[in-house]
């Protein structure tokens, strides 16, 4: 491979299975009595942030954790339904750490760093042990042992779950561990507070500027290290399955302070969401992918078929996934399933009043297993579906369509999860690592907890140890004062525009441009179009947005305005990245680069690298840094799920 990257992430030496052990042995340690002399700021309390803060607190570090929620338990990890992968091989079906590693690399379409992914697979087994010890009520079999199910992109059953609320239960476990530390005084919890800038001094992360959402007070926190665990940027599309408040602000403002943003064009479109019902739609709802275990996906063979699903006989239905991918059938990875659905809908075979969905049908499974088994497995999902659509999925097949769900891109990090800015660590969905160009189902929870419980607690010591005795930069240092000033100026500027359009109105416009031009499929032409339109929307925003009220009480429109201002800059970067990557891989599908039967066509010769972008100014061409990806163990091949 000929790619020469200028960005290097030193990976520990030795065979794959020994790298993490070797690394843990060779990195520096902070002795237990000295840990309390270090101040660490954690931003975000989802799985990654809460587990990191709790564990760092347990180790004795002095931790401050901020969240914009009223309680850490509300972070968006809570909404994950399906499950968490671990290579326990409890089902004796041939799973192993190596297989989970292999599946993740392959599922990610060979765009992830091997050493990180192997470590993730290794740690996966410890996560399950840890969570059970905390009291996470995973599903059990009648004998009392843990139950597993299979998930898209895998041929083994390795997914642990707690009904359809796995994310909730794992987050509550991490939240409870965190609250225990709050009680013990090792962690200070700062809720209803938003990080609005990263402060860098002499090239190192020195702290953050935040804003108290209730009082509007802007102040700084300083520390020896800053850990961002602030989630993904799916809401750049306005409509997504992300919680309404999820945003890119913390990560983007860090990027503007010099942290590289990697692979922003890798966005995951989840195949099983409830199709939009009207123009007022404010967010899309995901139906767990685990439904694909028992549900069969089909569309009528006839274009614009007006009949209701029960009137369409078996031989006039096209179970297109089973037909095109006999080996994986309905369980192909997300990107493959999503594009296949788009293809059917685009061809006019969509179903539902707006012809914008495909069927996910449980009638066979109900016949085979009985309604009670289906109820046991998916009861709460069926209920949720009925509540939203008014249709009973036990009787009428569900209608689903892909929606933006997860973002694989994120701030660039090395093997220690440290960004290119020393002292800035990035965990969970906010970083770019591990999932390559496409994430497998039930792997987000795994990565968030791996990063927080088992990686950062060791790797942060390597950075901190040499700083023993150094005090954090005081918050009255000019770097903090200037950053605070910039944040208050921005706030004041947003409040003073007093134009005609609401923040949501402009956000919707941006979202539509991105979905149409940089969504499930992209082309040079569509991306050029988006790149021409986004700066104009940004300009419109700064001229014509209307943010009412003041900055001394709770002002949700103001909070949103700041986030949308960042999306308006970040969206452009996403398109630039998508345009430069002249290949299709995973969630990045360029129409010009596909095989004859419409599958993604990678170009390993020229693009087997991580694209890490350096901010050079709003509206300016960012600078590209490349980290070459070496595949020592899994040789890249064309993904086949046939």
């Amino acid at each position: 491979m000929s790619i020469r990257g200028d960005l290097v992430a030193p990976v520990p030496p030795g065979p794959l299975e020994d790298k993490w052990d070797n690394h843990r042995f060779s990195i520096k340690l902070v002795n237990p009595a000295n840990k309390r002399r270090f101040e660490i700021i954690v931003v975000g309390t989802g799985l990654a942030g809460a587990s990191a803060a709790a564990t760092l607190g347990e180790l004795g570090y002095n931790v401050k954790v901020i969240t914009f929620h009223d309680s850490p338990r509300r972070a968006h990890s809570i909404a994950a339904q399906g499950g968490i992968n671990a290579a326990k091989n409890y089902k004796n079906d041939g799973d192993s750490v190596y297989r989970l590693f292999y599946d993740t690399i392959k599922g990610g379409d060979y765009r992830a760093r091997e050493a990180n992914v192997y470590r993730l697979a290794q740690i996966s087994v410890d996560i399950i042990d840890q969570c059970v010890a905390q009291g996470v009520p995973f599903a059990r079999e009648y004998g009392g042992l843990l139950d597993n199910r299979s998930f898209g992109g895998a041929q083994v059953s390795r997914t642990f779950y707690a009904r359809g609320q796995t994310g909730q239960q794992l987050l509550l476990g991490a939240y409870q561990a965190l609250m225990r530390q709050v009680h013990l005084g090792t962690v200070t919890l700062i809720p209803r507070t938003e990080m609005l800038d990263l402060v860098v001094k002499d090239g190192r992360a020195a702290g953050v500027v935040c804003r108290d959402l209730n009082t509007g007070e802007i102040y700084s926190l300083s520390g020896h290290a800053v850990v961002l665990a602030t989630g993904g940027y799916g809401n750049v599309f306005f409509l997504s399955t992300n919680a309404k408040n999820s945003n890119v602000t913390a990560a983007w403002r860090a990027a503007k302070k010099g942290a590289y943003f990697a692979n922003p064009c890798y966005t995951q479109i989840h195949p099983t969401c409830i199709p939009a019902s009207d123009d007022f739609q404010s967010k899309l709802t995901l139906m767990s992918e685990s439904l694909r275990n028992d549900g069969r996906i089909w569309v009528p063979k006839q274009i614009d078929d007006p009949r209701s699903p029960d009137q369409i006989p078996e031989d006039e239905r096209d179970y297109y996934l089973e037909r095109r991918y006999p080996a994986f059938g309905n369980l192909v990875p997300r990107d493959v399933a999503s594009r296949a659905a788009k293809r059917e809908v685009d061809a006019g075979r969509g179903v539902g009043p707006l012809k914008n969905g495909v069927y996910l049908d449980f009638s066979d499974a109900i016949r085979r297993l009985g309604r009670n088994v289906i109820e046991e497995r998916y009861g709460n999902l069926f209920e949720m579906y009925e509540r939203i659509t008014g249709e009973d999925p036990y009787v009428v097949p569900m209608r689903i369509y892909p929606a933006v769900h997860y973002t694989m891109g994120g701030l660039w990090v090395d093997y220690n999860l440290m960004s290119n800015l020393p002292g800035l660590f990035v965990l969970g969905e906010a970083n770019f690592s591990d999932h390559g160009a496409n994430r497998l189902g039930a792997s987000a929870l795994m990565q968030g907890l791996a990063d927080g419980y088992f990686v950062i607690p060791y790797t942060i010591g390597d950075y901190l140890a040499p700083m023993l005795g150094e005090r954090p930069v005081p918050v009255d240092d000019p770097v903090f004062r200037e950053a605070e000033q910039a944040v208050s100026d921005l706030t004041r500027r947003l409040l003073s525009i007093n134009g005609k359009r609401t923040v949501d109105d402009i956000h919707r416009e941006l979202g539509k441009v991105l979905w149409d031009n940089c969504g499930m499929a992209r082309s040079e032409q569509s991306l050029q179009k988006a790149l021409a339109e986004i700066p104009a929307i940004r300009e419109e925003f700064w001229k014509n947005v209307r943010v009412l009220g003041g900055d001394e009480t709770r002002n949700q429109a103001l909070e949103k305005a700041g986030r949308v201002a960042d999306f308006l800059e970040f969206g452009e970067l996403m398109c630039i990245d998508a345009l430069h990557r002249n290949e299709s891989c995973g969630g990045h599908f360029r129409e010009e680069y596909q095989t004859e039967d419409g599958e993604a066509l990678r170009d390993d010769e020229n693009f087997a690298y991580v694209a890490a972008w350096e901010f050079t100014g709003t509206g300016e061409q960012p600078k590209l840094h490349r980290e070459a990806l070496e595949f020592e163990y899994v040789k890249p091949s064309t993904r086949s799920y046939k």
Binding site: T55, P137, K244, S282, R554
Partner: protein
């Protein structure tokens, strides 16, 4: 799916800040689609208010999938509105009729001061968890997950309790502003499991007593169960009360006596 549009009258509690006096304001809301969620209806109202130069109605929300527990308001006097087992964000306008008058207010409870409009401060719930709502299992030392088999009915019951989303509807629905259902759900989630036994009695005492510091007392009105978006059973309150009684005995145990 239906394309019939409705018109409703919305009366909302407006309060500019924690110390500001509150008031009701009434808005005419035409063009409501039955497929809209309740919060989407509020989004539409807020868009219009802002275009008219008025500040939008502040309300907490995030996941809009009934799981994060952020949302919650009294809708016509009912916590989370008329549909049983449903959080405000999962309530849809098809549950209302054309011409309905809908009144929305924040949770009303001494322990939940209003921050603005419909947003209240629910920190007191975190205080209860902080006082003992966990199993002390620091990261690292856990044994293999399958080492302790847990009978399925036990795991299922623990999960039933653990489904609590911490929204505070139980408190808002209770005439006494009690937090028994919230507290019992967490106490019993952990007390039912084998992993939770070591701290069972201390946990119960600490959580119950912290709860009593902030919240009113339970006189078994059962309003909480009816309001709970996850339909958590008040049987958990009975189990918690039993554990609390035992725990008080346990605390008075004589030297050398083990319990239970």
């Amino acid at each position: 799916m239906s394309d019939k549009q409705m018109r409703i009258t919305l009366t909302a509690w407006r309060q500019d800040g924690p110390d500001a006096p509150g008031r009701f304001e009434t808005y005419d809301v035409p063009g409501v689609s039955p497929d809209m969620s309740f919060l989407e209806m509020l989004d539409v109202v807020n868009e219009r208010l802002q275009r008219e130069g008025k500040e939008p109605i502040a309300f907490d929300h995030d996941c809009r999938e009934g799981i994060c527990g952020s949302c919650g308001m009294m809708i016509n006097g009912q916590a989370h509105g008329p549909e049983r087992g449903t959080a405000t964000c999962q309530l849809h306008m098809r549950k209302f009729r054309d011409g309905d008058h809908v009144t929305i207010e924040p949770w009303r409870a001494a322990a939940f001061p209003v921050i603005r409009d419909l947003i209240v401060d629910r920190t007191a719930l975190d205080r209860i968890i902080e006082s003992g709502g966990y199993i002390s299992a620091p990261t690292g030392g856990a044994p293999d997950a399958n080492l302790i088999p847990i009978p399925k009915p036990v795991a299922d019951a623990a999960m039933d309790a653990a489904a609590c989303i911490g929204c505070g509807a139980c408190v808002a629905a209770c005439p006494n502003g009690a937090a028994q259902l919230f507290t019992a759900a967490k106490v019993q989630h952990l007390n039912l499991l084998p992993q939770g036994q070591a701290e069972r009695w201390d946990r119960t005492i600490n959580m119950v007593e912290t709860m009593e510091e902030y919240f009113g007392s339970c006189t078994l009105h059962r309003e909480c169960e009816a309001a709970c978006p996850k339909s958590i059973s008040i049987d958990f309150i009975a189990l918690m009360n039993r554990d609390y009684a035992k725990a008080q005995l346990a605390q008075r145990r004589l030297v050398g006596q083990t319990f239970p």
